[in-house]
Symmetry: C2
Subunit: 339 residues, 2 copies
């Protein structure tokens, strides 16, 4: 059993902790948290050992009536692999701590690519991380793009990808973020960081990305164009995607017109937190004009990277190959939608 | 002086009426309105003769204290050219009335292309409408695309255009429309109607368009990709666009990051209703990768077609060539932003 610690217990960390706890070959050593807020309270109720991320704040947990198992350094020492789920930029600051303890570490996509030995997407480049000391799970949007580009590149070859990402302004809990009633080019310069980030997974792929930010919180939505190297038709592409567990094709007639209905569907299905770990691709939108493939996909920014983090643990440990790890992860979490 | 009647005095009609009244070679005969609402009240205050669009409702104008110059048929009979600014679908119903009076008619882009002899964009195909009996001014989005495609096609040749249109959910006054907090593929099938609509102006142009709808009201925003037939660089394209009065390049450093600031700029500049008749292109976004040009542009759905309607009047009458008409229109209205 691999002993896994989770440093940071916010939007991603709490989901990774639950996913790790569900795996048959992993134990959750504990989770580190900066503040004794409602998330720390929930971790305690779940029985997850709680560690103080900031030693100076140990007293605040006691004041909140929360028992601590120790400080973050104890968690790092006890873990075979640490998953860093701290906010962007903090992971890089933590890297020295993991190094000091020779604890293999997994970082999130908000860090620069050079924080880790390798950038990681389970479907696209699992083997690159096998035996590495550290891996960076690419961001939710880059994960969503990598999952469709891998099978397309293998089956048809990709001449060029052009993607417009319409990004949610903030997560549902980020009440202070905007925009309100506006559509902002973000960034106004081209490309956005997503294209270069995809190149950390597919170094030779020709991709240009444009980002905009809008007043929505539930999911990102991508307008995707991929110029294929060989002929395809839409039915072919749908069949090819049907083999991929982490791609959910929303059927025509499901009356799912946006992220609101997708989340309602996930809640009705009993998904924890209403999470959608899969790319949600509108099947009707899959269109081929000449060699140009188009589609719309919605990406749940809070959860699509969670199975990738679990797979990254096994890759760093060399415990399984990509297919075995992905199947184990999916089985334990319940990833995959059979509509 | 060309006698111009405006049938329909809502979002577009009231702007067209003001623009016609400002022209040195046109008289506004009057405007037809279905209901005596706040817009009819404003028309009366401006001294525009008011006609009842629905004969059965004549009494309601009297009850509201508004004098009528007649019914819509009188307006059509008195006009040399009628500009139909009624809601989508109503224009087609009105076509027979204009025919009966042999009054040349201009329709809006919400009508099907076959409502008129020709679809019209002043910059791209003014001459096609000269001497025609009717013209259809294409929609705000198609107008915005035509204005950039015309100079690009002339200068570099267009191999293929791929455009994602992030559409405002409704105008500011359309309080009952959504979405709230969502991003909807709209339509979910590809292409959206915009690509085929651009082909009514550029029949041979290869263009695919994708539409999404978001919770914003102020302007549409386009993510544009045009694969050019010949080499270009971004500075070239900026120089080329600088020659086009109806293209406003938002300078880097202007601190205009979205539609909210654009509208504030327009209001500060004293523009009537805060209108932005020009495509608003972020200069920083103009990027060329190989032969792929990218840019972001915001399109003010309430006003960008207004100068086009004025030019369409002159085209139907054969009163001026494209350059003369556009210059006269722009001079009378104050179109063009010198930043």
């Amino acid at each position: 059993m691999t002993q896994v610690g989770v440093n940071g217990y916010g939007t991603i960390g709490k989901r990774v902790a639950d996913a790790v706890a569900a795996q048959p070959d992993m134990d959750l050593v504990g989770v580190a948290k900066t503040r004794p807020n409602f998330e720390a309270e929930t971790a305690a109720r779940k029985g997850y050992p709680l560690y103080a991320a900031v030693p100076e704040r140990v007293d605040r947990f006691a004041e909140a009536g929360l028992d601590l198992a120790g400080e973050v350094e104890d968690l790092v020492a006890a873990a075979d692999v640490i998953v860093d789920c701290t906010p962007s930029g903090i992971g890089a600051e933590n890297a020295a701590l993991y190094d000091d303890h020779d604890t293999p570490a997994i970082f999130q996509g908000g860090e620069d690519a050079d924080v880790a030995d390798v950038s990681f997407n389970a479907r696209a480049n699992f083997d690159d991380a096998v035996g590495a000391d550290s891996a960076r799970v690419v961001s939710c949007n880059t994960t969503g793009l990598s999952r469709i580009l891998a099978p397309l590149d293998e089956t048809y070859g990709v001449e060029k990808a052009r993607v417009t990402l319409v990004r949610r302004g903030g997560d549902p809990g980020q009440t202070g973020r905007g925009p309100i009633d506006d559509i902002l080019p973000d960034p106004v310069t081209i490309p956005s960081h997503h294209g270069p980030d995809v190149n950390t997974i597919f170094p030779d792929l020709d991709i240009d990305t444009l980002g905009m930010k809008v007043p929505a919180t539930l999911m990102h939505t991508h307008s995707v164009n991929v110029t294929l190297e060989s002929d395809a038709d839409a039915a072919d592409v749908r069949d090819r995607f049907a083999d991929e567990t982490r791609l959910f094709q929303i059927p025509a007639g499901a009356d799912i017109d946006g992220a609101g209905k997708l989340k309602e569907f996930a809640h009705d299905a009993g998904r924890p937190r209403g999470d959608l770990w899969e790319n949600c691709i509108w099947a009707e939108s899959i269109t081929v004009e000449g060699r140009d493939l188009y589609l719309f996909q919605a990406i749940h920014q809070e959860s699509d990277v969670v199975p990738e983090n679990v797979d990254a643990v096994r890759a760093l440990r060399g415990d399984a190959d990509a297919a075995e790890s992905m199947a184990t992860t999916e089985d334990a979490m319940g990833v995959g939608i059979d509509y």
